[in-house]
Symmetry: C2
């Protein structure tokens, strides 16, 4: 099971909380006291439409911060619940805000943390805008791959990867097989290599 430590940056401000499946991290309308870091599991941020339909705004994955907006907002604008048994680190917004204002070097690091996420997310949006499964896979390899030829190591299972690519797992399996048959990618011990 992947277990991500809260970045050293703010480890001293964080306190961990364990949540069962379905557990609530925070609720819409309550005071925004904490920013969170997901150590493991899966947390959904969602809202409800007028008719009661659930709308997922963000599915946080292990190793990510979420609800950073509570730094700048009085109350939460959505509800967060655990879709799986999860462990979250809660960081007091006030303390974090305080430190950003008091420690310039820390402020830069926090900006960097957020900016990096932004960049990755933009690449992901671009990837999801591609129409074909093969294009999405190749975009992933070329933007997230390391070394030459670009090699990508899925963080979790291929099923998870499929979800991240906006595909069903069946579609991803088939696409990988097809690309491999065409000699455009290769798979070795869990990694995916991009060839010409």
């Amino acid at each position: 099971m992947p277990e991500a430590d809260c970045p050293a940056l703010i480890a001293d401000l964080a306190s961990s909380r364990e949540l069962p499946r379905g557990g609530t991290v925070f609720r819409l309308g309550t005071r925004a006291r904490h920013v969170y870091f997901l150590q493991h599991g899966r947390v959904l941020l969602h809202r409800f439409g007028p008719g009661g339909e659930e709308v997922v705004i963000h599915a946080a994955a292990a190793g990510e911060f979420f609800a950073e907006a509570s730094l700048h907002s009085e109350r939460y604008h959505c509800t967060a619940t655990a879709a799986q048994p999860s462990r979250v680190a809660a960081i007091e917004s006030a303390a974090l805000r305080q430190r950003i204002q008091a420690d310039p070097a820390f402020a830069m690091q926090w900006v960097e943390t957020v900016s990096r996420q932004l960049r990755r997310l933009r690449a992901r949006v671009e990837r999801l805008s591609l129409r074909s499964a093969a294009e999405r896979v190749q975009h992933l390899l070329l933007t997230e791959g390391q070394g030459t030829p670009p090699a990508y190591t899925p963080g979790g299972t291929l099923r998870n990867l499929a979800a991240e690519l906006g595909l069903t797992h069946e579609a991803l399996y088939r696409t990988l097989s097809a690309l491999e048959r065409q000699g455009r990618i290769a798979r070795r011990d869990g990694r995916i290599l991009h060839l010409g």
Copy 2:
């Protein structure tokens, strides 16, 4: 033509530059001297694969910052070119970094700017992960709509909206018609209303 002013926050650090279609904003590997704000037009951030295939990492839209990462990076990791005649405001990274470190209130505002983008982008990723066109439209209305019932006003044309939703314009037109026929949405003077 939409013309976005550079946020007052940093207007005094910015200097505008006009670009023809195809003009280069910055190139891969050159020194990361500026962060940019796109006033109007369209700028593509892209990289090239081993075989020379272009990979678009981000398509910046009017009113957005781009290349914020140059605050934390020595060199640009991609190339940016104008896909249309565009106007960009260039903000010196060094000056911006300087101000973040010297002015705590400014630092908080910059963090807020970036965090807000992050939140919107996450919602967009979630939206693009939905399989059906109707679901994407309703997600858009419920997450980006204002008032009750939620009303959404497209920034540009429906064609542009279709691209943002990862659909062809034909698919979007048909989906809107179908939803309207089913009484789930209504369209009045350019706005789209979500009903039940």
